[in-house]
Symmetry: C2
Subunit: 255 residues, 2 copies
């Protein structure tokens, strides 16, 4: 049964998509079968693996609202064991639609169940909000991985996110746990990065990944080629840090 991990943080631009794409790709490069699920109406994770929303007449939205199955919309990527359930245009209205239908919180869980066994990991990229799409992502997941940008504003939202995770665990998904917190865009030369790391490590002790993702331009160039960074520039510090994160994630599970 595949382990389902939601990548969530309502703060914008903290590296959710970059983590979903590159962690997913690194796990796949290691031989795991991975499904990337894009429930962000921006569709960045989809284009990040070369399946832009504009080229997907159907995607996650359709089965989410009852038209067909998720299996119908799953596409291959340039990495043999990495598949994607892409975002499609109509996802933009989904948060509101899901709020107004019976069982709207558990729709994603329902469409993922029939396919989970085909994968070792299912990685869900969430939008920058705590709306019904993110709630669906948390409800469908075994665990949530929280990217934290090493910036002040990124600290502010953490307690609200943890409250929401708590609420989802109590009301909708008792199995939901925190996979871990991963620091992104870490720049050892600047004081702010150190302060944020100190502060978060102090609070969350064993929940913080050892691996820190450095700020690395190759990570932000790769999406313009529709490639995960390990295909675009495997030797870059960006790629290497996500490969290391994938290894750490797997070794934590084995423990």
């Amino acid at each position: 049964m595949g382990r389902t991990i939601a990548i969530a943080n309502q703060k914008g631009g903290v590296g959710k998509t970059t983590t979903a794409v590159n962690l997913g790709a690194s796990l796949a490069a290691d031989g795991r079968r991975v499904l990337l699920v894009d429930i962000d109406p921006q569709g960045n994770a989809s284009s990040g693996v070369g399946v832009p929303m504009a080229e997907s007449p159907v995607g996650v939205y359709e089965p989410l609202v009852g038209h067909g199955t998720l299996q119908d919309v799953i596409r291959p990527t340039a990495i043999e064991t990495l598949f994607v359930a892409p975002a499609s245009r109509d996802l933009a209205g989904a948060a509101l639609e899901l709020a107004n239908i019976e069982g709207g919180h558990t729709r994603l869980q329902g469409i993922l169940d029939p396919v989970r066994d085909q994968y070792d990991y299912l990685v869900i990229d969430c939008p920058p909000s705590l709306d019904m799409l993110t709630v669906n992502g948390l409800t469908a997941a075994d665990a949530v991985l929280i990217p934290v940008q090493c910036e002040y504003y990124a600290l502010e939202g953490l307690s609200k996110l943890l409250e929401t995770i708590e609420m989802v665990r109590d009301a909708l998904n008792a199995r939901l746990e925190i996979e871990g917190i991963v620091f992104t865009m870490y720049d050892p030369r600047n004081n702010l990065s150190h302060q944020v790391v100190q502060e978060v490590r102090g609070h969350f002790v064993d929940k913080v990944f050892e691996t820190m993702i450095p700020r690395n331009i190759r990570l932000s160039e790769a999406p313009s080629f529709g490639q995960p960074c390990i295909l675009y520039d495997m030797a870059s510090r960006g790629s290497q840090s996500y490969i290391q994160l994938a290894r750490e994630l797997e070794s934590r599970r084995a423990a």
Copy 2:
């Protein structure tokens, strides 16, 4: 009658709050009376001017849903002619609530109307979404200023944002115009920045501000002190670029 400018872009982390706070502060430092309106449930603009959400028992949310007036919640800041209508906790549920009440799209416009005459500018910081809060921001505004981060993913969402602006103009607010596009976190040393600037300038010709906001660490350090950057470090390139942006904004209006 104060000019109301919404700072909007559904892409996360592109510098909406940093622009709202520092453009607002620069206009105020120039002697204008400015009201910063924080309709993002994260409340970053509020804490960015030293009025953290945790310290605001009431804020924009309350008058938005009919309890009291906006005047009741407006607070002063460390800059004499800069005021803030802060975010408060309950704003997190507002997008859904507004979607389900009569005239939910125009609530913000309604609560701003009685105070507009007291200010030269009202600057609205929007959340990273195209939900009812952002729609309220666009409906209440005379113009929208669009921060564009010099990154690939930031390009992807632009056409969707322009569609939404068009829709709001047609259905809710005929006066809505585009104040302009401002490049943020521009790094002249990297190719990607140049590519994004070329691409956007090619499409939007006269709508792009000459002033470009450089990536500058002082802009991201200032919020941890609850200060706009012009108070934290007036001489920094970050502060100077926002002062220049404020000047350009005013000279465009005079033209």
